[in-house]
Structure formats: C-alpha cells, structure tokens
C-alpha cells in the first residue's frame, strides 16, 4: 500500500474510464514497393498517398503527402555489430571484436624496443577488442617514466607505444576528477588512426579506429542508447547492488534441463564513483546446463568463508547476479535469479530464493573464465574455486 493509494486508484479509474471515450482510428494501409531496400522487401506505409486518398482516416483536414524518404545506409547496415552494455547505456561495437583488457602498465613497456622480451607487453591485446571499466583490477605500483619524443601522439591516446596499437572500443565511468589526458573527451588523429572519446550520462566511450575504418568512431558514438534492461537481460537497477548480503525473490534456480542460457551480470557496488552494471556475458546450451547442475551439486550452506581474515563492516564491492532463461533465450523469460558473493571473507556463496550453495570450481570458475568479468580479489578459498581466467592472472 502506498501513501497515496486512494489518489492512485482515482487516477487509474479516471483514465480507464476516459480511455473508452478516446477517438478511434481505422488505418487502411497502402502497399508499395520500397525500392531502396533489399530486393523483395515490401513495406506498408500508412501515410503515403494512394492516388489522392489519405489512408489514415481521421477527422480534420488532410495532410500533405509524406515525401519518399531517402535512406542512406548506416555503418551498421554494412558491418555486423553487437550491443555492449555498461551501467545504464548500450553501444554497438563490431561483432567480431572480443572483450579484452588493456595493458596494465603501458607506460612501463620499453620504447624503443631492445630486442629482448618485454614482460610488460605480455598483456597487450593482439587484436581489436572491446574493453569495459574494471575498477577492481589491481595495478602494480612501480615507477615508469618515459621521456617524451617529438612525433609522439597526443597524450589523450594514452601511453601504449604506437607499435602495439590495436583498434578498440572502451566503455568506462567518466573520471574527469583524475585530470589525466586519457580521461578527457577528444577527437584526434595520429598517423591515420582516429581517436574519439565522448562522455554521456557519466559514461565515457572511447573508440580508436585504424586508418582503414575511419567511420567506426562516429558509428559507435552515435549508437549509444539508454536502457533499463541490458541486451543480455541484466537489470540496470538490481537489488543485488544494495549493500549487504541479499537473497533474490521469486523461483529458485531451476533444474538444468529447463535452462537454455544463463546471463552473468557483474555489478560494481562502488557508490562513490557511480556503481552499477559492469560486464555481462551469456552462457548457452550445454555449458549453461552444466553450470546449473554444478550449482545444485555444490554443498549447501555457502562458503568458503574465513571470517577471521577480514573486516566485517563491509560486504565488499563486487557481486554477480545470475539470471536463468528458458530455451527460447527470450530476455523477458527470466526463470529465476541467483546472487553470487565472492569478494569478502564471509557471506560467500551462491544464493537463490530458497537456499545457499558453496562456491566450487565447477559453479564459480565459469563465471570468471573470460573478459569482461575478471576475478580481481578474494580470499584464498574463493580464489581456488573461482579464479581460472586471464582476469585473475594479473599482468
């Protein structure tokens, strides 16, 4: 019951009643070939003129005919894209670009090269990639100072030496307070490479495109949209983001044979710098059913916990929500939800609406097996169960 229950009911009844008095329209669509689309595609238009008749019958004067629109193919009409979610926005990125992480200390990479193996370059992506903000990722504290040279790119491009450059799309929380050149919005070129960086709704999107793909930056930036549910079915505003340890409502984790896919939604609970949805992935088919079975097979009661090894006044800043979908993989057909706590020394486990399960290698390892969801820290027992991916290997 809300404080305004009577008033709400009054508005609802008023609108429901008045809706019956709304005028009706009887559209009678005309059909004509839209020649500028792919052959064989026939679209109906309600507003085009058929002879001299306006097909949308309504009271009032007829409107002038709508001119035939000229459709210019967009970048994404010619290149396959996929939606990338972060916080409450989504953008399109090239479909064949995998998630990866930037080099942890690009400033420490020797430049010019000496001919010997440079371990600081081991984690530099070797192909085009998509990177999401990973605030929990540890950074080695070492001093690397490189003397600037004439011909160096603008500092906004970052400190990665040019010979290591790969095209990328990066999405992260805007941090203008840091005052770094890499944090400011920009539109720059260097040797034919094009950098665009733009901030919208507190989220910064950076695109570095190679000389043969100059239109990519504008295409990515213009694709940005706000959403309330991500394209993989993660809630932008999930109860799991609240502080403490919570239990989801609704149905418990279903049986493995009922599941078609599982979406892994990784949330950052750092409210100081704008927490929210970080990376998300979908596991489908047999891998999804294996994960679900591993949850059911795990010992009951949660853990592993080592409660004497950390402070108990925080419940840490990372948490995962698992959303289970049926075989139709329809984003609206969520069967159940479970929360995965890994970041503290207590309260760890996989929790659904009825029970709690221990973290095991089989039910936790797959959650952190690939970017953009990395295991950045946890107690030793949790590390053994969950840390199996590059994200846990560090630089």
């Amino acid at each position: 019951m809300t404080d305004f229950e009577r008033e709400e009911r009054a508005f609802r009844e008023a609108f429901a009643g008045q809706a019956l008095d709304a005028p009706t329209i009887t559209p009678e669509p005309a059909v004509r070939q839209r020649g500028w689309l792919s052959a064989g595609l026939v679209a109906a238009t309600v507003l085009a003129v058929v002879g001299t008749t306006f097909v949308l019958q309504r009271d009032g004067d007829p409107k002038p005919p709508v001119p035939t629109p000229v459709v210019t193919p967009s970048y994404w009409d010619q290149h396959e894209g996929r939606w990338i979610s972060f916080r409450d926005i989504e953008i399109l990125a090239p479909a064949d670009w995998s998630y990866d992480y930037e080099a942890i200390r690009p400033d420490c990479i020797t430049e010019p090269p000496t001919g010997e193996r440079d371990s600081w370059a081991d984690d530099v992506p070797r192909k085009p990639y998509v990177s999401l903000g990973s605030e929990g990722r540890g950074v080695p504290l070492v001093g690397c100072i490189r003397d600037p040279r004439s011909g160096d790119p603008d500092p906004a491009f970052g400190q990665l030496p040019f010979r290591w450059w790969q095209p990328y799309v990066k999405v992260e929380v805007a941090r203008p307070d840091l005052g770094r050149p890499e944090s400011r919005d920009a539109d720059l070129e260097y040797r034919g490479w094009h950098l665009t960086r733009s901030t919208t709704r507190g989220i910064q999107v950076t695109v570095l495109s190679a000389p043969d793909n100059d239109a990519l930056g504008a295409a990515v930036q213009s694709s940005l949209r706000a959403v309330t549910t991500s394209n993989l079915g993660c809630q932008i505003d999930s109860p799991v983001q609240r502080d403490g340890f919570r239990q989801p409502t609704g149905a418990p984790v279903p049986t493995a044979d009922a599941v078609g896919s599982v979406t892994i939604c990784d949330y950052d609970r750092d409210t100081e710098h704008g927490g929210g949805l970080g990376g998300s992935l979908r596991i489908s088919g047999a891998a999804a059913r294996d994960l679900v079975q591993a949850i059911h097979d795990a010992p009951a009661g949660g853990g592993p916990n080592t409660p004497n090894t950390c402070l108990h006044d925080t419940s840490r800043d990372r948490v995962i929500a698992l959303r289970f979908f049926d075989a139709a993989e329809n984003a609206s057909s969520v069967l159940a939800e479970a929360f995965v706590y890994t970041a503290s020394c207590f309260g760890n486990g996989i929790v659904d609406s009825r029970s709690e399960h221990q973290l095991t290698r089989a039910n936790c390892g797959p959650l952190f097996a690939q970017a953009p969801i990395g295991f950045w820290g946890g107690s030793a027992g949790v590390f053994e169960s969950c840390a199996t991916s590059r994200g846990s290997d560090g630089p």
């Binding site: 508005f11 609802r12 609108f15 009643g17 709304a22 309504r58 409107k63 459709v71 967009s74 309330t228």
Partner: protein, 167 residues
C-alpha cells in the same frame, strides 16, 4: 527504453496494432479528440523516416509517446502565444454531471496540470511505466518524473480532502 512488445518492422502493421493505444494516450494527455488525432498523426509522420532505426533500437513506443507529449506541450505553449492577454486556454474537459467520485475529481484535476506533469501521470497510472521509463519518454531525469507524479498525487489529495470536508 527496452519495450515489452517487439514492434513489427512493417509500419502499417505497427499502426494497426498500436495506433489506438497511442490515440488513447494522446487523448488522456489532451482531453481533446481532434487534437489527439492530430498529435498521433504528427508523431507517426516524424517516426516514419527513422522507422527502421527505431525498430532496431526497440524505441518505437518511447519515441512516439515522447513525440505526442512534446507535441501537446508545444501546442499548449503556442496557444498561449496566440492569446497573450487572456488566460492560457486549457484543454476543455466536460465537467461530469456530478463531481461525485474520486475518479471524477482526478479527471478534473488533469485539466489543470501542466502538460508534462499530466503526461507523467498518464504514463504512470494508465501505461504503468516505471519512473525510469517515464524519464526516458519525457526526456527528463527519473527524479523529475517522480516529482511530477508526486505533485499531482498531493494536489489530488488536497482536492479529495476538501471534498470530504464538504460532505
């Protein structure tokens, strides 16, 4: 705004399926049958050139509702400019024979609400949108959407309590 119904790519099919719902929304925002029809027509005309993009983004309904709400606001402001020395002409609402029910009071109050606030109330209590979704439709912050609705509820409470006292 991710939509519950995937809009048919065919424009006419969408109008056939959703045109009446848009008409109802426009009528609830304006209380004027003719104006509602004009607003829907205008909104559909604006949506037509960008229809494929709207479908691929899943934002057809939000775009059309926003167009209708903005159109209602623009028309009301235009009406004010046309009649600069007189009181702003509010959408006409035929008073019920008796203002007996709470619903009657609510409908009368709607006539006095600013158009954007009225649109927010319709979106909340007829379309059942969340405040976040209302913000996306009306292009305002979620807090602003919440404030619109809350003010309308408070106004109605005052009206209903006054009516109760008179009884």
């Amino acid at each position: 705004m991710r939509e519950e119904v995937v809009a048919p790519r065919d424009f006419a099919e969408f109008v056939a399926a959703r045109g009446q719902a848009l008409q109802i929304f426009a009528y609830l925002v304006t209380s004027d049958r003719a104006e509602a029809a004009d607003l829907v027509q205008d909104a559909l005309e604006r949506a037509w050139p960008r229809w494929d993009t709207l479908v691929s983004e899943g934002s057809c309904e939000a775009y059309l509702r926003r167009s209708i709400a903005n159109g209602a606001v623009s028309r009301w402001r235009k009406l004010r400019r046309i009649v600069p020395v007189a009181d702003p002409v509010r959408p006409h609402i035929a008073a019920p024979a008796e203002v007996g029910s709470d619903a009657d009071s609510a409908w009368l109050l709607c006539a006095e609400l600013p158009t954007t606030q009225r649109a927010a109330v319709v979106l909340r209590f007829y379309e059942d949108l969340s405040y976040n979704e209302i913000g996306l439709v009306l292009d305002c912050a979620e807090a602003t959407a919440r404030s619109h609705v809350h003010r309308a509820l408070r106004n109605l409470r005052e009206r209903l309590e006054t009516g109760d006292d008179d009884d």
